[in-house]
Point group: C3
Chain length 321, copies 3
Amino acid sequence: MKNYISINDITNLEMAIKEALYMKEYPYAFAKAGKQKTLGLLFFNSSLRTRLSTEKAAKNLGMETMTLNVNSDSWQLEFEDGTVMDGTKAEHIKEAAQVLSQYCDVLAVRAFPGLVDKSQDELEVVLSAFMQYGSVPVVNLESSTAHPLQGFTDAITIYELTESLCAVNKKPNVVLSWAPHPKALPHAVANSFVQTMQKANVNFTITNPEGYDLNPEIRGEVPVIHNQKEAFANADIIYVKNWSSYEDYGKVQSQDSNWMINAEKLKGTNQAKVMHCLPVRRNVVIADDVLDTESSAVIQQAGNRTWAAQWVLKNILDNDK
Amino acid sequence: MKNYISINDITNLEMAIKEALYMKEYPYAFAKAGKQKTLGLLFFNSSLRTRLSTEKAAKNLGMETMTLNVNSDSWQLEFEDGTVMDGTKAEHIKEAAQVLSQYCDVLAVRAFPGLVDKSQDELEVVLSAFMQYGSVPVVNLESSTAHPLQGFTDAITIYELTESLCAVNKKPNVVLSWAPHPKALPHAVANSFVQTMQKANVNFTITNPEGYDLNPEIRGEVPVIHNQKEAFANADIIYVKNWSSYEDYGKVQSQDSNWMINAEKLKGTNQAKVMHCLPVRRNVVIADDVLDTESSAVIQQAGNRTWAAQWVLKNILDNDK
Amino acid sequence: MKNYISINDITNLEMAIKEALYMKEYPYAFAKAGKQKTLGLLFFNSSLRTRLSTEKAAKNLGMETMTLNVNSDSWQLEFEDGTVMDGTKAEHIKEAAQVLSQYCDVLAVRAFPGLVDKSQDELEVVLSAFMQYGSVPVVNLESSTAHPLQGFTDAITIYELTESLCAVNKKPNVVLSWAPHPKALPHAVANSFVQTMQKANVNFTITNPEGYDLNPEIRGEVPVIHNQKEAFANADIIYVKNWSSYEDYGKVQSQDSNWMINAEKLKGTNQAKVMHCLPVRRNVVIADDVLDTESSAVIQQAGNRTWAAQWVLKNILDNDK
């Protein structure tokens, strides 16, 4: 694997899951794979899980890590080509990417979308620029439209949660459900989850209010049901996430609390496990009566972030030899 | 030792001091004790000594460290139970603590008090939440009411400073003195010093203006003298610290510069050594004519922070085996 | 080498360049030189290259690093002697420097000038204070008046770029050119470059508008030509940098875009390579038609930052044995 930009960079998802779970069992099995290699982590936005789990993954492989909060530690970057840089931005990505490629063996980048201009966000300007101008592998720590480390984590977690189902040759029923949130949130996590489930051996459905359908190019043939109750019937996994409208781009059209996930709603399911990428706003997105019970898989899921990242870094290091 | 929350978590203070001083002499004697273990340092407030000495201590033990400025690097955390999280706080401590426990083998946390609501501060909401919801040992890097790494450091330093006194079987006279400060400061350092001295083989007195008596539950039987000059007579150690009023909680009742420590005031003492946890405001809390002379032990004291932290981490690692 | 404050701390520049280039070829040749040694990096100002290349250099030598953004992570420092600290500054450099010297084996410090009071800036208060009060070697990561890690980097880069010239015993023609910039910038980079070139085996000229002559004490005998075109004739190396006025201290007297470096201006040169310390504002300081072509050496130059820092740290560690 050269870069890890999208879940589609994983060619064999099932094998990748099994290898990641091997790392979960033996975290230091490849403790020298990253010897004398440096991972640069560049954050244009806040992070807790991504930051720490990726640093941890790198260290488990023996890599050094250097973490930069780009806007506060360093200079504001210009991404526009040909511009006259007489404003507030002191450095162009062309230089930054080439320079960082000399200090780091792998660059991992987080840059959220503006959620104002859809086509601008879909250009993935920041991530693309690091790939275009940099000379080392790039890992997506959540970009405008994708969060593939989360997607791979989710696949690992669903594999763990549904192994018994698979053992009796029953495909698990997985539902991605929109839930309300006070702020306009990106589509990245939902997109990567949709793309991951399309590669997985599951029955997959999306449920969201009218006006909240995800990008049809990503959604493809996945059925969308606008009635949450109907969608949850017989669900084995309910993956909860808020996103802002894609059609009316970046807008909060609804904060309808009827879409919040609570224990009552799990009754019609197949004792569904509830997943969420975190951070989760309690009693807005998911109720305490789910998060504080056996129904919740969110902690196990967050724990798996380390092994997803470790697998990705290991594969990039192997490829780079 | 499971957690290090209060100086009372050290069962044998004298043995702990001797072991910490052994580490001071041989910093790398246990360079593999923390192999493949990660210390997470979480700062809700600023830090210089605590941050660097604890990182250093961890590295001396071969641990990896991951440091997070919680508010700027990550998400604002909610600590209230059952709340509807529709405000500015994006993540609940219940998730954060459980998730961080999966990435780190020990969590060290700094969270200062609000100094507005006494009973709220005394709940030690942040630290308690990490202990309640997390699943790894917790180290207190200064909480609302205690700074036990400082307390242990102080015990080590007094032991070094008074060894000769002890050799002739004379208990050193230790005085904790309030001193003025322009801002309202927490009681944590003073509290932990009082608790530490109660466990130490010293004669111990507190001196502060009327209205500044510390929490009687912590102070216990320790005599409080409201006349600083009287308290300093024959002192071997003067420990200087400002704190805001405890009775009139969090208020600055006095900035009386007569309480500042200067060379003149040391005349009636037994050539007392002056200690302070730092940072110290010169010529407000302690005068230059003390800090710049042999009377000051503040640098030696700050240096001992490393060995206090190293002893604590070593004991937690040993217990965790 | 005890400290690295100015390029003059390098006694034999040519030997230093060759040793640094050896490290570039064999980055891990001295991977144990810094074992159980800690480099503290203290930033009073933003940094990208300096921060990451110096961290990388330290790690290549097996050193641990601890990085502190002084103003945001820690306390505001007081540098004035004898002051009554009743304002916003919580800690005096006297304590900070002594304390940090106990946690770190080498301290590296970045502190930009205020550009308001020339004589104040020239006192180099921050750096001097760390040298005066600290007890470990100090490395200048860019101070008010000097950026010697950049200067050494530049010497290494010019050596690489002009080896063929030297082979035929022709001294390269090096020109330092002022270029316009929207903000008032420090003189540190220009000063260190001038000092470095005076030690190097080159023909050296400075070109800048009237009113922008650098400090005559640093400039010494170096010819200054106020006509850029004339200065560029037969140049082998053009080193571009903006600085604010030195005479009318800290002021932007000109933003004359005629001084911007572009491809057209390279025509009269000896196929000159263009250098800049970065960050560079494109199409303000240097045009795209230089930066995006073979004429630019800025990326190679930035890459050499690691080897300059590694050589400096290695020499300090060797001296400290």
